[in-house]
């Protein structure tokens, strides 16, 4: 389950400025008092639009996130691994569904959200535009991508918007399984033959930097941080979370006997943290703008699923209509 600091293309700052000041202050006081905001409560227009954007991007990421791993369901090395992977991918579908529901409480319809994804208008986490050429990539995704997601998501369980926070509690409860099954795959490969260990190392090399990008642009470049902080949608900055992720992950990689692909990575004793090399933000921007290795493939897969599934949705609706009409006739006959 995956969220990313994508909130970069917000609506104009002028929007919402016209909100009644008194309501704004009352709202802020509630947020400051750690009260949860619920769907029918008054909220600033920008709070609503920020949440719709963030929650729907998050939901889209879950849905698109099924694709890179789904690629390996038919080729998982054992029946157990296959069962685990199916369960994991099914969880991602569930996470997408919880989040779409949470977004819908803000007055946007599921169909609008799906349309935004399929038309390419909405963004989703850049990480899913990378390919999964080997089985080890499935391990690396669980360990690093789900690991980074957990780091991002745990603070969201305390988000000021009730439905989002509750969805995140549910998601986080299920997330630990994802990370552990990924690490378990990596562990098995790292303890395997030289070829298997090499496979694990190559997957780690592929996913390390994109995983660090999942925390979003550096704080210095992030313009929307302050507002989200003030509204308690966001509790920690992108860089804080990224640092924490690096500090957690380094010893895990050491235990595997694998090397993180960063020659600048070193422990800073004075600051009690790991220093790491510069992230290629040009690559991040390219992938986000649609020019990653798999952007077109991912969207094509979603569009295809939507189109190919249309008859099923229609048939289910026709069946429901027929049942309703029949029940009505029986009722009238009595």
């Amino acid at each position: 389950m995956y969220t990313q600091g994508l909130d970069v293309q917000g609506a104009s700052a002028a929007e919402g400025a016209k909100e009644a000041c008194a309501s704004d202050e009352r709202f802020q006081a509630r947020v400051d008092a750690e009260e949860k905001i619920e769907p029918k409560d008054w909220m600033p227009a920008r709070y609503r639009s920020t949440l719709v954007r963030q929650i729907s991007q998050h939901a889209h990421s879950e849905i698109v996130g099924m694709l890179p791993e789904g690629n390996w369901i038919t080729r998982a090395p054992t029946l157990l691994r296959k069962s685990i992977l199916i369960a994991k991918v099914q969880d991602e579908a569930g996470h997408g569904a919880y989040l779409y529901s949470a977004a819908e409480t803000l007055g946007v319809s599921r169909d609008q959200l799906i349309d935004q994804l399929l038309s390419g208008k909405a963004k989703y986490s850049s990480i899913f535009n990378y390919p999964t050429p080997t089985w080890a990539d499935v391990g690396a995704i669980g360990w690093l991508v789900d690991g980074a997601a957990i780091m991002n998501q745990i603070p969201l369980c305390r988000c000021s918007y009730g439905p989002y926070a509750r969805a995140m509690v549910r998601v986080c409860r299920e997330e630990s399984f994802h990370q552990r099954q990924g690490y378990d795959i990596m562990l098995q490969l790292a303890r395997g033959t030289a070829e298997q260990k090499c496979m694990a190392q190559e997957a780690l090399n592929r996913w390390w930097w994109p995983a660090l990008m999942m925390f979003g642009p550096p704080d210095a470049a992030s313009t929307h941080g302050t507002e989200s902080h003030r509204w308690k949608i966001k509790r920690f900055s992108n860089d804080e979370l990224r640092q924490k992720f690096v500090d957690f992950t380094v010893p895990q990689a050491e235990f595997l006997g694998l090397t993180l692909p960063d020659p600048k990575l070193r422990w800073n004793e004075a600051e009690q943290r790991h220093e790491f090399g510069a992230i290629d933000w040009d690559e991040f921007d390219r992938v986000l703008k649609g020019h990653g290795p798999c952007n077109a493939e991912r969207l094509a897969a979603r569009r295809n699923a939507h189109t190919e599934g249309a008859w099923v949705r229609e048939a289910a609706m026709a069946y429901a209509d027929k049942q309703r009409a029949r029940a009505l006739r029986i009722g009238e006959a009595r």
Binding site: E38, K40, D41, W42, A87, Q90, D91, G94, A97, Y98, S101, E104, S109, R110, D111, R166, A167, R170, E174, A310, R313, E314, A316, M317, Y319, A320, Q323, R324
Partner: protein, 96 residues
């Protein structure tokens, strides 16, 4: 498909185990109530989180208005005599 042909929204309530109330857990889209139950099983009870599911069309729920919360709940505020601790009973009196 035209607009009203989309699957409607259902609210889902799950009883975690026997003896507990059904609790609201979220919502989902389904063509009918039967399908809503099936989807709720897959969506909200993948890890044995429940023994019973209720679904209800979201449009069939009437909710109180948060803007009227003050006037709606205020009448209960000054009736502290409804709580047992309001009454000062001498220590000598037992089992009361």
């Amino acid at each position: 498909m035209n607009e009203n042909r989309h699957w409607p929204l259902y609210e889902v309530f799950v009883r975690a185990r026997g003896g507990l109330d059904h609790k609201h857990v979220g919502s989902l889209h389904a063509a009918d109530a039967r399908m809503a139950i099936d989807h709720a099983r897959d969506l909200y009870t993948r890890r044995e989180e429940g023994v019973s599911i209720w679904v209800v069309r979201s449009t069939d729920i009437t909710a109180s208005d948060p803007r009227e919360a003050d006037s709606l709940f205020e009448p209960a505020r000054d009736k502290i005599y409804r709580h047992p601790t309001f009454y000062d009973i001498p220590d000598e009196v037992k089992t009361l």
